[in-house]
């Protein structure tokens, strides 16, 4: 059984490292700072409009490497399968990972598979590690935001979370919104080429834009002020949030990023982003201020101001 599964991955991922059938892969890295990240993926449902858990795992890992300003090169992947998980579904996930890896320009060079008893897992869990290299001098970090910096967002928020919610059995609604899951390596390469001194780069995944902005404010010990009108949210995402009592700011994204740069660099960065397919709707949404309390504030459409807080736990639909 395990051998069958291994064959399936070797065939799908198709690269010289895997074909050697070693328990590890020996790789050469170009000059620069080596970047490494690891991530676990659990998602329900496993397949959703615009993607599936496999695509999510590859893109998520690629993006975590890219958020260091690096070009992602190699991935490893470990699969925890629940006994009885349909091989057909697994093949679909493997194919989709292979396609995502090709798009992102990375190779999945080593991996592992374990099968657990039925009931001990939820179909399939995927753990991935990614390795990449950042050009010398490029070192964005969440603790590097400075007062005066411009906050740039790459596109509309909430698509991924809403696409997944729409498929949940008990919530089911019809929407044309699909997951925004995408590899952001090309976009980041273009950004780094235009503005090497990007202070902060983050992808607002779980917890949404609200969590990411709060993390940055907290780690950099600054305040952030964003303008509600400048943050793009698709009509259907807004409507889904209205129906379920959620806030788009807390909804997960899988193909968006937030960049903080010196105000003088903002236009150049936004121009470079808009030339890329995953940065077409890039815009400045706010700026950094000095604030010991590390608050993230939003200028509302009413001209008032409110705080944007971290959300406690996963956003749950509410009736009141």
């Amino acid at each position: 059984m395990t051998q069958l599964i291994d064959e399936l991955f070797v065939a799908a991922f198709d690269n010289p490292w895997l074909s050697q059938r070693n328990d590890q892969a020996a790789i050469e890295l170009p000059e620069g700072r080596t970047v490494i990240t690891t991530d676990g993926f659990v998602v329900s449902p496993l397949f959703f409009p615009g993607g599936d858990i496999g695509m999510l795992a590859v893109n998520g890992t690629v993006n975590d490497v890219a958020m260091a300003g690096a070009r992602p090169l190699y991935l490893s992947a470990a699969f925890i399968l629940e006994e009885g998980f349909p091989l057909g579904d697994l093949a679909r996930i493997a194919e989709s990972m292979a396609a995502a890896a090709r798009t992102a320009g990375v190779a999945i060079v080593t991996g592992d598979t374990k099968v657990v008893q039925r009931g001990s897992g939820d179909g399939v869990f995927i753990a991935t590690t990614g390795v990449g290299v950042a050009p010398p001098g490029v070192a964005p970090s969440a603790d590097s935001a400075r007062p005066g910096d411009a906050v740039v967002l790459s596109g509309p928020i909430g698509d991924h979370g809403v696409a997944v919610l729409a498929q949940r059995e008990a919530l089911r609604f019809e929407t044309t919104v699909t997951s925004d899951t995408a590899p952001l390596a090309e976009l980041v390469a273009a950004m780094v080429a235009a503005v090497p001194d990007i202070h902060v780069l983050r992808d607002p995944t779980r917890g949404g834009l609200a969590a990411t902005l709060n993390e940055i404010a907290d780690q950099s010990a600054v305040g952030i002020v964003v303008d509600e009108r400048a943050i793009p949210v698709r009509g259907e995402v807004r409507a889904a949030c209205e129906l379920l009592g959620l806030d788009p700011l807390n909804i997960a994204n899988e193909g968006r990023l937030v960049a903080l740069v010196a105000a003088a660099d903002a236009d150049r960065l936004v121009d470079a982003m808009r030339g890329q397919p995953h940065g077409r709707d890039a815009a400045v949404i706010g700026h950094v201020i000095a604030d010991d309390r590390r608050f993230v504030q939003m200028r509302t459409t009413f001209g008032g101001s409110r705080l944007i807080d971290w959300l406690a736990g996963e956003p749950l639909p509410r009736i009141c």
Binding site: Q297, L307, R318, C320
Partner: protein, 379 residues
Amino acid sequence: MRYLDEFRDGAIARSLATQIAERAQPDRSYRLMEFCGGHTHTISRYDLEGLLPANVTLIHGPGCPVCILPVGRVDQAVALSLSHEVILCCYGDVMRVPGSDDTSLIKARSHGADVRIVYSSTDALALAQSMPDRQVVFLAIGFETTAPATAAVVLRAEALGLTNFSVLCYHVLTPPALDALLGPPADPARPMAEIDGFIGPGHVSTVIGAEIYRALLDRHDKPMVVSGFEPIDILQSVAMLLDLLNDDRSEVAIQYRRVVTWAGNRKAQDMLAKVFAVRDAFEWRGLGSLPDSAYRLADRFAHLDAERRFPLPQHTVADNPACECPDILRGTKHPLDCRIFGTACTPETPVGACMVSSEGACAAYYTYGRGREARTAAQ
């Protein structure tokens, strides 16, 4: 979104704010209670208090079915989910409400209880139909707005002859709570807030109608304006209330006329009368035990009543003494008056129910107003 976006227009809001400022007589104060948590949420979300003159204050009421659920009831739901091999279906709102000993339904789920979030009561019924060998219990919370959805599935379960479906019914009623807020306090040591007028429940009134408040408010000699939930609705209701108070008229008026009528939804009312019986009394967090203030299933549907079907713990649990939820729910204290607000009690680690629901006064203040309040305090 039609009929929502129009009522969120900033220019109209500012013009209403000007009208309110003109109407507010400088030599008097206006203490208005918004009963509904939904109103509280909008007020915080749009910073409406910042648009009002200083002598018009909004007091946040107990109209959040999650916030007023006493700890003992949460314990019942948790015990049921853990001990009777049932699938407990509930609305997302109750998942994080703290019971005693740091329990909650979300924690019960991580301990193996089969607790599932549903969007609608019909989803719970559908689950029971699809899993005939499992007992499915629907935890029914909410005011009169939500109760008809429960009544509908009880009637359908009866018609289908389902034996694996039941309802844990914690539906509560609005008029008795309003009455309690205006009447003498049950405990003289814990007075009620002084209220000049009410921003009245909007969606509850689509079901029960606005007529029902007339006698009640007349008895207490207070005005009420039944209001919609968008910022423009609330500001317009405040303006209307100021007019009534300035003219010394204790009347009920409807601002939310696009949705609320005097008679309400007769079909839904008939269904409520058929399916539910009024409990002699029900414990409300903050307000104490209120007579005739909640529903249980009528005897005819006893076989669908989880409270009669499963042995459940019957205890009342005192609130955490440091938590000011009871006084906040009565409107006598502000979230910022609570010593544990924002320190021991946050949305992540809620001590009191007002911090759990995003409609709770504390959660609304914490989420949207903390910075503004802190700034004001610092000045």
